[in-house]
Amino acid sequence: MNSMALIPLFAFLILIFVVGIYTARNVSRADSFVQEYFLGSRQLGGFILAMTMIATYGSASSFIGGPGAAYTYGLSWVLLAMSQVVTGYFVLLILGKKFAIMARKYKAVTLIDYLQGRYGSNKITILSAISIITFLFSAMIAQWVGGARLIESLTGLSYESALFLFAVSVLVYVIIGGFRAVAITDAIQGVVMLGGTIILLIATIIAGGGMENIMMGLKTENPNLLSPHGHDGELSARYISSFWILVGVGVVGLPQVAVRAMSYKNSRSLHRALIIGTIVVGSIMLGMHLIGVLARVVVPGIEVADKVMPLLALEVLPPWLAGIVLAAPMAAIMSTVDSLLLIVSSAIVKDVYMNFINKDAKEKQVKRISFWVTSITGILVFLMALSPPELIIWLNLFSFGGLEAVFIWPIVLGLYWKKGNAHGAIASMVSGLVAYILFHSFAPNYLDMHTVIFPIVISFFMYVVVSLFTHAQYRQNGWV
C-alpha cells in the first residue's frame, strides 16, 4: 500500500473522531439525558436522517462482499442488489408518520419502548431485548472483523493493531456522544460512501476503455455474465426476487433502522429524507455493484472476491484518491457498528435496567450506567472480534433475517391493525424466530427462495390468527 493513500484514510478517521467528540457537547446540555443519548432528542433533519439510515443499513457487505459477488456472478448480482432501492422510500413511508406519532405518545426512545407501549406486555419486552442483544451483538462482531481486515490489508498492520485502531476510533465518540454523534458522523460517512462510489465508477469505466468495451470483454469471457441468471445460469428469477423481502421491504423490521423512524423532527424532514434516501441508496447500490462487474475486465483474475474493491481502487486511481475512495468501505463499517453498539446498549439500559432492575433510576444514575454499559459492550465486542467464537459466526449469519422474522409484524401490524394484541405479537415473534432457525438449519433456500421468506409468512399468520382468536377475551376485559 502506498503511503500517499494512507494519509487521506487516516485523515478521515481523525475527522470522524473529532466531529463525534464535538457533537458530544449536546449530551451534557440536553433536557433529558435518555432522550438525547439514545435518540438525539428527536431533532434529526431530512438530510441527516436519510444519511444515517443509509449508512446504518449499508454495511461491509455493500462495499466489500457485494462488489465481490458481482465480480463472480455478473450483472445478475447488480439486478439483485437493486431490490434495495426500495428501502430508500418504503421504510419511511410505512413507519412514517404513524410511528413518529405513536412513539411520541408512548414517550418511546427505543423500539422496545414502542412495543411495550403498544402491547403492554413484559414478555414482549424481554423477548425483544434478548433477540436484539443476541443478534446485533454478533452482527457487530462480524462487522468489526471486516473493518479490521480492511485496515490490515491496506496498511500492513497486524490484525490486532488494526482492530484496536478501529475500535478506539469508533468507541470513543459513541460512548460519549450517543445517538446524535452517531447520526452526524453517519451523515459524513454517507457522503464519503456516495462520493467514493461515483469516483470509482467513473475511473473504472475510463480504465476499461468505455462501457461498451468492458461489456464486450465480459461477453467474450462468458456471455452468462451479462444475463440476469448469473455466470452459470443458476440464479432463478424466484431466488433473485426473494431478495426483495430480505433486503428490501423486510428492512422495516430491523430495530436499528426502525429506531431512526422515531428520531425525526417533523413531517418536513421526513419528506426530504424520502427523496434524498432514495437517490443516495440507489446510487450507492447501483454504482458499487456495477463496479464489481466491470472490475472483472479491468482487474481480471482476482481470486479472493473480498479484495476486488481495494485492489481495483489502487489500480485505477492515483494513490491519494484511492485513499479517499477506500475510506468509503471503512465509513460503511463504522457507521453500521456505531448504530448497533448504541442499540444494544439502549436495549440493556433502557429496556432491561430501567424497566426491571431499577424502575426509579435517577438521571445521574442512568447516565453513569449508560456510559458503562456502552463501554463494556464495546470492549466485549473488541475482545470477541480478536478470535470470534463459532457460535457468534453462526448467529451473525442469520441476524438480519432473524430480526426481520421476529419484529416485522409486531411493528407493522401493531401500527395499522387495531385488533392486533400481545398474544398475537408473542406468537408471531416466537414462531418467526423458531421457523427461521429451523429453515436455516434444515431447508435453506427452500423452493429456491431466500430462507427468510417462509418464516415471515408463518409469523404473519400466527399474528393474525392468534390475535383474532384472543380478540374476544381482550374486549371482555375492556383492553381494546
Binding site: 437493486m82 408518520k97 404513524k98 403492554g120 461498451e212 468495451n213 461489456m215 456471455p223 413531517s267 419528506h271
Partner: protein, 91 residues
C-alpha cells in the same frame, strides 16, 4: 389505552398505502424488463450505451423512474402534519 380516532392516522394509513403502491410499481418494472428482455440468449440481446437492454431499462431507467415517482409523491401526495399531541396526556 383507548385509541381515539385521530385524523392524522387517516393520513398515515393513506401514505403507507402509497408506499405499498410504489413498491409494486417498482417490482413490476424491475422484474418485467429484467426477465422479459433478459430471458433470451445473450447473443440476441440489444444494446444501449454499451449495456444489455434489459439491464439498462430494469436497473438504470428503473432507478430514475423511482426517484421521479418519489419526488412526485412527496411534492403532491404527502400531507404535512404535526407529530406532537396538541393536548397533554393525562396518564
Amino acid at each position: 389505552m383507548d385509541h381515539k380516532e385521530d385524523k392524522r392516522f387517516r393520513v398515515a394509513g393513506h401514505e403507507a398505502l402509497i408506499g405499498i403502491a410504489l413498491v409494486l410499481i417498482n417490482f413490476l418494472w424491475w422484474y418485467g424488463f429484467a426477465f422479459g428482455l433478459g430471458g433470451q440468449p445473450v447473443s440476441d440481446y440489444d444494446w444501449i450505451f454499451g449495456m444489455p437492454e434489459w439491464f439498462f431499462y430494469s436497473c438504470i431507467i428503473g432507478f430514475f423512474l423511482m426517484v421521479l415517482l418519489v419526488i412526485i409523491v412527496v411534492k403532491y401526495m404527502l400531507t404535512d402534519i404535526p407529530f406532537d399531541d396538541e393536548e397533554d396526556d393525562h396518564e
